[in-house]
């Protein structure tokens, strides 16, 4: 996560195509093993982006092929099977200006579920083909064909329609049968009944040489509903494609120190008492005790605290902490049920099971609608049957009622909106795991943010530069240049100084020292420089015997934070901050972001409790967080979001992922969610208006196949057009 990430709107490739990469001799594809790797590229959006990415990648000696999929915003690369290929390609794509996230190839292989999509597409094609042909044949009937001509048209229509209805309508029959077997009614029951009854009645009329056949209606019903089904599938497929598949480049292996040297072992092969080596920049693979080495650990992903902890031999450390400065050896302990990681996993599981079952708008509509249709149609059948004694007419009218009321528009009302909205969100870099979370998002009245890594970038910035004398700045900058420590890097970025410092040595876990004009200078930890540790993240500079000087740091607030909080407040939401960090740090960020309600020092369980308390007060809460300590809270909230830079556990419990890592998308997504819900309700009203006009006509027996076809197409098209407005929304 970094502040320089280009916004979606700026396409680096549109500005200038990058120069060709340094093309070395291409590896021989016959000699090296090849591997397929895939990356998510949230910022590709145009033809020039495609060309830039594909050209640059294929110019590399270790890449044999690259293909961008703009719909899924992914690139699939055939590359040499080198150990660091993922990291190299990520770096290459980042250099090009496209932040990339590797996708988990194992999950991809499992999720290669494009078969279901193709299957639906084929059924849609058949329904469309058959519908158009039957419509054409029906036109002559509507135009007044009579006698043998009409019979012939009906027979040809039947020959096309019956197999098409059997094939294309299969997904509805299967779902309806599944519901009926469990004694329930779903939207597919009236759909299947309408399709089958319309086809059956029409076949009967055809055999008898009757006036009206509804083959075209049965087919257009199937066609429009399949469009809804296909959109629904697409929404879910796109969401699934990346959410579960973002591979973690986090520690999944540990390096065990044995008598023969170091060996890489998977985490579950670790035993109690194993000695593990952890290099600077790595996350600790297990809970344990430090046996050798001095370093500082960054616990922010685990607890939200930004203050690094100094550790030496004998210190108790937790899995998931980031080792900042020196190499460490730790003895693994408590691998069983009591690691912090396991406790968090348990919290997540409990939160997930207690999360209330949400009834989506579509389910609510179906619950009212399905019984109403059946009762209405049955009443029409019985009423006409008893009144006239003409049961053939009664069946015809019952079929007409079913066809007219059939939820063509209703079937499109929800999926068309969700497809348009999730496509829109995806283009902005927000990934929905399912459509229901969009409906949940529309209901929220409170937003709870985590601090570290969510409102802030997680990168330290120097805050007391003005208080530091010129000379000290130069010394610190000269020393800091020689260290890879994140705080030293921040100093080197803030100041530039060239001083003839000799004997610069890095003391892992402590700091950097050197000699300036014969005087020892030290830049590092408080105790190492003879200072008392501060409550804030700090680095100390000691020159000779002079009292040490503090360089104070704060977590850098994301540039878009204040604006986002203001936008959310303007939308009428209450914004809260829930941090695991110390009160001072939380308060500073809350002030800068403009958040009035904040709570600090919250453990993972405290966060869940805080959310449950809000829920008990009747609030619907959106939780935004990225740390391991947020995972349970994300699962407990009404709806939740996580930036793509979040830890695995958080990403998997969040409902939405912000792949663009831009916090402003929280406010955007909420706006789109509210608009989507409004569109869905509008669509329901449109469908209701159509029904209220056409149902009385159908019950009165005044509907013929022409009116049925018109009503159905008109309502479906109106609903689709209304839904598409989401995509164009400003």
């Amino acid at each position: 996560m970094n502040a320089e990430t280009p916004s979606i709107a700026v396409c680096p490739a549109c500005v200038a195509l990058p120069a060709k990469g340094e093309a070395g001799p291409k590896l021989d594809p016959h000699e090296v093993a090849m591997r397929r790797v895939e990356f998510s590229l949230p910022t590709v959006h145009c033809a020039a982006c495609i060309a830039a990415v594909e050209r640059t990648l294929t110019n590399r000696p270790d890449v044999f092929g690259a293909r961008v999929n703009l719909t899924l915003k992914r690139v699939s690369i055939t590359a040499a099977d080198l150990p660091n290929i993922e990291e190299d390609l990520t770096a290459e794509l980042d250099r090009l200006g496209y932040p990339a996230k590797p996708l988990d190839s194992a999950v991809l292989a499992r999720a290669e579920g494009t078969k279901a999509g193709r299957d639906l597409l084929a059924r849609l094609g058949v329904a469309g083909f058959a519908m158009m042909n039957v419509m054409l044949l029906s036109i002559s009937v509507w135009a007044g064909a009579e006698g043998t001509t009409r019979e012939m048209m009906h027979w040809i229509s039947a020959a096309i329609a019956l197999p098409a209805v059997a094939f294309a309508g299969y997904p509805f029959y299967r779902s309806a049968w599944g519901a009926l077997r469990r004694g329930r009614l779903n939207m597919d029951v009236p759909i299947s009944l309408a399709i089958l009854l319309a086809s059956g009645v029409s076949l009967f009329e055809t055999v008898k040489g009757g006036n009206d056949a509804y083959f075209d209606a049965a087919l257009s019903l199937t066609f429009f509903l399949l469009i809804g089904r296909y959109l629904d599938y697409q929404t879910r497929a796109t969401a699934r494609s990346a959410a579960s598949e973002l591979a973690a480049l986090e520690v999944q292996k540990a390096r065990r120190v044995t008598e023969e040297g170091e060996e890489e072992v998977p985490l579950d092969a670790l035993r109690e008492g194993d000695i593990l080596a952890v290099a600077p920049g790595e996350r600790l693979p297990a809970d344990g005790v430090v046996t050798w080495g001095d370093s500082e650990l960054d616990p922010s992903m685990l607890t939200g605290e930004t203050l690094p902890q100094a550790v030496g031999a004998g210190a108790v450390v937790r899995a998931g902490m980031l080792n900042i400065s020196g190499p460490l050896k730790i003895r693994a302990e408590g691998l069983g049920e009591d690691t912090l990681l396991k406790q968090i996993t348990r919290l997540v599981e409990t939160a997930e099971t207690t999360r209330n079952k949400y009834t989506s708008l579509a389910e609510k509509a179906a619950a009212i609608y399905a019984p109403a249709v059946h009762i209405l149609s049955l009443l029409a059948f019985l009423g006409w049957g008893f009144a006239t004694g003409d049961w053939r007419l009664a069946v015809n009218i019952a079929a007409a009622v079913l066809i007219i009321t059939c939820p063509c528009a209703l079937g499109l009302a929800v999926p068309a909106v969700l497809a348009a909205a999730s496509g829109r969100l995806f283009a902005q870099g927000v990934l929905l795991k399912d459509g229901v979370s969009l409906e949940r998002l529309a209901e929220i009245d409170t937003v709870v943010f985590d601090k570290t890594g969510t409102l802030t970038t997680g990168k330290p910035v120097l805050v007391n530069a003005e208080d530091i004398p010129e000379e000290a700045r130069n010394i610190a900058a000269a020393l800091a240049k020689h260290s890879a420590h994140p705080l030293a890097k921040a100093i080197a970025k803030a100041f530039s100084g060239e001083l003839p410092i000799e004997n610069i040595t890095e003391h892992p876990g402590f700091g950097t020292s050197g000699r300036l004009n014969g005087v020892e200078v030290r830049l590092g930890r408080a105790d190492w420089c003879g200072a008392t540790p501060a409550a804030q993240t700090a680095v100390w500079l000691k020159v000779g015997d002079a009292p040490p000087l503090a360089f104070l740091f704060e977590d850098e607030i994301r540039p878009e934070t204040a604006e986002t909080v203001a936008a959310l407040k303007a939308a009428g939401l209450t914004v809260r901050l829930l941090s695991g960090d110390v009160p001072e740090a939380a308060e500073a960020v809350a002030k800068a972001a403009g958040i009035a309600h904040w709570q600090a020092g919250a453990s993972p369980a405290d966060k869940v409790d805080a959310l449950n308390a809000l829920a008990a007060e009747g609030h619907k809460v959106l939780m935004v967080g990225d740390g391991l300590n947020d995972a349970a809270a994300l699962a407990a909230a009404h709806v939740s979001m996580s930036p793509a830079s979040a830890v695995d556990a958080s990403r998997s419990s969040a409902d939405m992922i912000i792949i663009s890592n831009n916090l402003a998308e929280v406010a955007n997504a909420h706006r789109i969610a509210v608009a989507s819900k409004r569109r869905i309700l509008e669509n329901f009203s449109i469908a209701a208006v159509y029904n209220s006009i056409s149902v009385p006509l159908a019950v009165a027996g005044m509907v013929n196949p022409l009116i049925a076809a018109l009503a159905m197409s008109a309502s479906s098209i109106t609903v689709s057009l209304n839904s598409m407005r989401i995509g164009k929304m400003k």
């Binding site: 719909t71 597409l121 084929a122 094609g125």
Partner: protein, 53 residues
Amino acid sequence: MNILAVLIPVSLILGGIGLFAFFWAVKNNQFEDPKGNAERILSDRFDDDPDGN
């Protein structure tokens, strides 16, 4: 009216060919990246692998 006996089968056969072509296209991954295909046509580089495999 006898011409219908010729025209209807002809139109059905033509439609059938279209349907077959559609099946073939679905099977060959041609609906995997509709947005990408819409953009690629703007590129001056010849796309020698439209299936994306």
